[in-house]
Amino acid sequence: MSKRIYLDHAATTYTNKEVLNEMLPYFTEYFGNPSSVHQFGREVKKSIDVARDRVAKAIGALPEEIYFTAGGSEADNLAIKGVAYANKSKGNHIITTKIEHPAVLETCEQLEKEGFEVTFLDVDQYGVVSPEAVRNAIKDNTILISVMYANNEIGTIQPISEIAQIANEKKIYFHTDAVQAIGSIRINVKEQNIDMLSMASHKFYGPKGVGALYVRKGVKLISIIHGGSQERKRRAGTENVPGIIGIGKAIELAYQKFDENNARITMLRDKLIKGIMEKVPYTRLNGHPENRLPNNTNFCFEYIEGESLLLNLDMKGIAGSSGSACSSGSLEPSHVLLAIGLPHEIAHGSLRLSLGEVNTEEDIEYVLQVLPEIVDRLRQMSPLYEKVKGGK
C-alpha cells in the first residue's frame, strides 16, 4: 500500500519546511537561555520578541498580551483556571458549552469539583451556540464565559463577536478556544471584544508542543505553572525557543497564504461533501452546512461503527478520524454529536475528514472511489443494516 492520503489535519499538521528551517538554528547555534544576560541569551531574546510580534499581529493584539504555552490545552487551562482562581472573590460562576474540547470541558469539570458552578450550554442541531442563551445564562456571580471559536469535530463556527459583545456589556471576561480557527478564520481580538484566546501551533503547520494564550491587558489571571519570571511571571519555565520561533513563523505564513489556501481547501471540501452525500445512502453531514471551517467535513454513516471504518480507510492509505472516543478507552460516542441531538447508535458511526494544504483533487477522487465500497462492505456485515434492508 503506497498511497497515503492525510485527511486528519484537524488532529495535527506536519511542520511546514519553511517554518522548520527558521527553527533549526535555535537548536544548535542560537541556543542561549533568553533570560541570560550574555550575548547567547540576548540574541535569542530578540528572536522571541519577533515571534511574539508575529502572533500578536495575526490576531490584532499587542505583543505584550501574548503568552507562550506548551500547546492549546495548557492555554485553555491557564485562561480558565487562571481567571477562576484570580476572580473568586467576585463570583464563582462560569458559562461554557457542551461542545467544547476536553481541554475546556475537563478543566471546567475540575473547577466544579473545587466548588465553582458551571453552566454547560446546549447547541442547536448544527452545533451553534445561541448568543441569547449565553445572555440568559448570565448571573450576578458569573466571572467567565468560554465559547470555542470553531468546533474541532464538526467544524461549526460560532457567533463569537455577538457572544463577546454580550460578555463585554456585562463586564464578564470572555475566552475563546480558537485552536481550530487560527489560519482558517480572520480574527481581530480588539474589534471582536475578545479578552482571551487560545491557539496551538501544530494545527497550522507549526511544531507540536507550543501554543499561545492572548490575554487582554488588565485581565486578572494567576499562573498555573509557578517558578521563574518568564512570560512576565505568567508562565514559568525556560522558553521552548525553537517552538516559539516556529509558532511565530507558522502564523505569519498562515495569514500570508490565507485567501489562496482557504479558497482552494473550501473547494475541495465541498467536492468531498457533495460526492459522499451523493454516493453513500443513509449518510448525514454533521455541523453547519455553510458556517463551517473551510477544511472540515464530518459525516455519520448509519448502521456502521466509526473505528472499523477508520481502520478500513487506513488500510487503503486514507487517514481520517472518528468522533467516537473508542480509542480513548471509553464506549461513549462523541459528546459533540450527542449535543447536536444524534442518537447514540448514529453518533457511533461518524467520520471526520479534515483537509489541508497538501490535499489535491485526486485525493478527493480517490476517497470518493474507496469510501463507498468500504461503507457498503461494513453495512453488509452489520446486523442493523440487515433489518433496514429487510424492512424495505
Binding site: 473505528e307 481502520l311 467516537s324 473508542c326 478507552g329 447514540h344 447508535e345 456485515m381 446486523p383 442493523l384
Partner: protein, 123 residues
Amino acid sequence: MYSDKVMDHFSSPRNVGEIENADGVGEVGNAHCGDIMKIYLKIEDEVITDVKFKTFGCGAAIATSSIATEMIKGKTVEEALKITNKAVVESLDGLPPQKIHCSVLAEEAVKAAIEDYQKKKAQ
C-alpha cells in the same frame, strides 16, 4: 494498537453472513453502546457444522466475532460452551485493555446462540 492477528481477522473476517433457517441465533450488545454481535449456528448431532456472524462495532468487535466463529466451528455444543473470553483474547494475541469487553461480547454471543438452539430443541 492491535496485534497482527486482530488486524488479520478484522480485514478478512471469516464466516461473515447469515444462515437461513439456522438452528440457533444469538444477538448480544446494543447499538447504544456501539457493539452488536449476531451469531448463526447450524448444528447436527450436537456438532456445530456451520457458523456465520454479523457485527456492528469496532475493529476488535469484528475480529473477536470472526475468531470466535472459527474457534467453535466443528466443535460440539458442549465444547463450544467452554470457550471463554480469555481464550478469545489469547488466540488473537491480545487486545488493548479498553477492548477486552469485545471478547466478553463474543463469548456471550456464542452462548446466546447455543441457548437459542437448546431452547428450540426443548420445545
